[in-house]
Amino acid sequence: MFNAIVSANTLQATLDSVGVLVDECKIHMEEDGLEIRAVDPANVGMVDLSLSAEAFESYEADGGLIGVNLVRLQDIAGMADSDQLVHLELDEETRKLHISIDGLEYTLALIDPESIREEPDLPDLDLPANIVIEGRDIDRAVTAADMVSDHIELGVDDAEEVFYVKAEGDTDDVHLELDTDDLIDLVVGAASSLFSLDYLKDMNKAIPADAEVRMELGEEFPVKMHFDIADGEGAVTFMLAPRIQSN
């Protein structure tokens, strides 16, 4: 059983966070909220999302699992104005999801969850550096780096106590340093890793400009980025494997 009413805003933010990595995903409908975990086809980027029941206007579920085509669902959610309410109801008989937005009824055929790529385990990593940064600063760094290169180095200089972003292109370079004044918080540790800009660009799209993003970094290790959606009722973690430094 699943029957919920949610604001279009929240639904769109939720779907966008997952949709930047995969086209289809499994959604766990637990009693206390939704949970989604997915990894992209190359096994390089991962998203872990939870949206508590409090984020909904009304929420009823008893622990079912559905598979959805995210592209479709995003399109449907996009039909609603941001302050409209979206009613979602699962028809257990036909295995279809009924979606209604102000009189507009849409019946979405679901995908067999078995056919969707297996959900990864959330790797338990102990990453030394912790940076808390505003979403818009990530956007600045990624946008600038994208002009010169297809990968980006994120790191922390422990001596100077700065978080830095470097992108080296064939001819041009981009460099950005943020010190403790620019950041919300910084825990220094040895950290520098190279990442694919394609993925960071996509993830950046899902990060709200005013979000407080907690970034965990290590030495040639994956990066984790945690931020909240739906006024703190939903939590998203992006994780991205590092590029191998070519020598």
Binding site: P41, N43, V44
Partner: protein
């Protein structure tokens, strides 16, 4: 459940029949950190390449990303997915974490669905930071660049000796009784193909608890016969019926098969029987011509009857010994004469456009006369006029006149022809572009063909007509009917689509 999946080896040590390749693969993986090369596993279908790759990944504890022919493998997909997978570390261990990218059927990346994929893979193996395993049936179907960038390991056909124990194992695990001879003949039938053998075993065992040799023999699968073996059959010993039936297993179309037979049959036949065989081949060819003219492919059966049963029936007795059969010389002849034919067609096309005739008319009725009149450029003035009129280069003049293309004679004709063309162009331009400075420039290019603009539609129609006649061996006059047809089509088109004029 599919037994080939159920009993797929989970570790390299369970991979059967290719010990050498298996050890080489293990060594490649162990030493990967030193050489960082990709590896190509190649060999016939069903010998265990894919199984070995997955077993290896399992042994090494490498997560896998696999692509096979059912995935879209365009340049973009390969760069994005395989590229990121091969250039990135893992989510659990970062840059030092290993992941293997397995590209199955890597010799089969072509066609529209995989546009640019092959090149993308070649550049990817060079810059990959993770181990990559490419799997292919035909090593040499892959580009040279790709082959050179990778190590390669050949998987040989699995011998019957190695197949039988595997089948025996499977039977024991499935609790099926068997006759040894049954397993032996399954192994025999699948010469070299272990997967095929297991599949056959499962098909035989379906719903039974015992496999006997009799079951096996009746369940043999269809196989294709090589064309050389077939030639041996039809030319040396088979009767008409056998020759015809054996041809069903040959993977050649009648158009190709007739060339194979026609080219090799005279190596064994002589005298009367040779004449009779040619008679049947001529019949077959006539039927093939009808197929082309009418697009009625059911005529293929008559072509097939004639070229197989007919040729076999024409033979006196049986032939012995071994004959070196070869691919049809017709094909290599086409290749060798390509240059000459291109020249001939160019000249014919120029004549056709200028004179408003079909290409075949130009070729059959006009070119021979031109050739005589300008023989060895004796009539120089006429040759220059011809070259100017039809816009011919030195090689074309040489083709028509028979004079060497590098001779001074021909070169000077080309120069004179160019001058003559300019003069003509200037003359034509007099009226239209009087006083305009760029007029000669425009006319240089457009003058002669501009003359014929109204004809171009006709030329196109004539061309189709021309090629129809060329391919029809029966001499039936399809040219006219084809033209008629296109004419009727034109009017039909007019009827369906109202023009603006209809409303004025």
């Amino acid at each position: 459940m599919d037994w080939t999946e159920k009993y797929r080896p989970s570790t390299l040590s369970e991979v059967r029949g290719n010990d050498k390749a298996r050890d080489a693969l293990k060594k490649w993986a162990r030493t990967w950190d030193d050489h960082r090369d990709a590896v190509i596993l190649h060999g016939s279908p069903g010998v265990g390449k894919t199984s070995a790759a997955h077993a290896l990944a399992n042994d090494m504890d490498w997560p896998t990303i696999e692509f096979n022919a059912s995935d879209t493998r365009t340049k973009d997909v390969i760069e994005q997915v395989a590229g990121e997978a091969a250039k990135s570390g893992t989510l659990t261990a970062g840059s030092s974490g290993r992941r293997v990218v397995i590209m199955d059927e890597a010799d089969n990346i072509h066609g529209n669905a995989d546009r640019g994929g092959s090149r993308a893979i070649t550049s990817l193996v060079k810059e990959a930071g993770q181990p990559m395993v490419l799997i292919a049936n035909e090593f040499y179907d892959m580009s040279n660049g790709l082959r050179n960038a990778c190590q390669d390991i050949e998987f040989r056909d699995v011998s019957k000796r190695s197949i039988v124990p595997v089948l025996r194992d499977v039977c024991r695990k499935e609790g099926i009784e068997f006759e040894d001879a049954a397993l032996a003949s399954i192994a025999e039938m699948n010469s070299g193909d272990l997967r095929g053998a297991i599949k056959d075993l499962q098909a035989q065992a379906e719903g039974k608890d015992r496999i006997t040799e009799d079951d096996v023999i009746s369940g043999e699968r269809d196989r294709t016969e090589g064309v050389f073996d077939y030639l041996d059959t039809v030319i040396k010993k088979a009767g008409p019926q056998e020759a015809l039936e054996a041809s069903y297993d040959v993977d050649e179309t009648p158009d190709d098969l007739i060339n194979w037979i026609e080219d090799n049959m005279p190596k064994d036949y002589e005298g009367e029987e040779l004449a009779r065989a040619y008679h049947y081949l001529a019949n077959a060819d006539r039927w093939l011509g009808r197929v082309r003219a009418t697009q009625n492919y059911s005529f293929w059966r008559y072509a097939g009857d004639n070229m197989t049963a007919g040729v076999a029936a024409a033979r006196d007795g049986e032939k012995g010994g071994w004959t070196r059969y070869g691919p049809p010389s017709y094909w290599s002849k086409l290749g060798r004469t390509r240059g000459t034919r291109d020249k001939r067609d160019y000249v014919a096309q120029q004549i056709a456009e200028t004179a408003g005739v079909s290409m075949s008319t130009a070729r059959r009725d006009v070119m021979p006369h031109l050739s005589v009149m300008t023989h060895h450029c004796k009539n120089r003035e006429l040759t220059v006029a011809m070259a100017a009129r039809y816009d011919l280069e030195a090689e074309h003049i040489s083709f028509v006149t028979g004079s060497g293309k590098d001779t001074n004679k021909v070169q000077s004709i080309v120069e004179d022809a160019a001058e003559l063309r300019e003069e003509l162009a200037a003359d034509n331009a007099d009226g239209a572009f009087e006083g305009e400075s760029e007029a000669p420039g425009i006319d240089d290019e457009d003058g002669p063909s501009g003359d014929d603009e109204p004809d171009s539609g006709e030329t196109a129609a004539a061309e189709t007509g021309g090629s129809e006649t060329q391919t029809t061996l029966t001499g039936e006059s399809t040219e006219e009917s084809a033209d008629d047809e296109s004419a009727t089509e034109d009017t039909a088109d007019d009827d369906q689509q109202a023009g603006l004029g209809d409303f004025v």
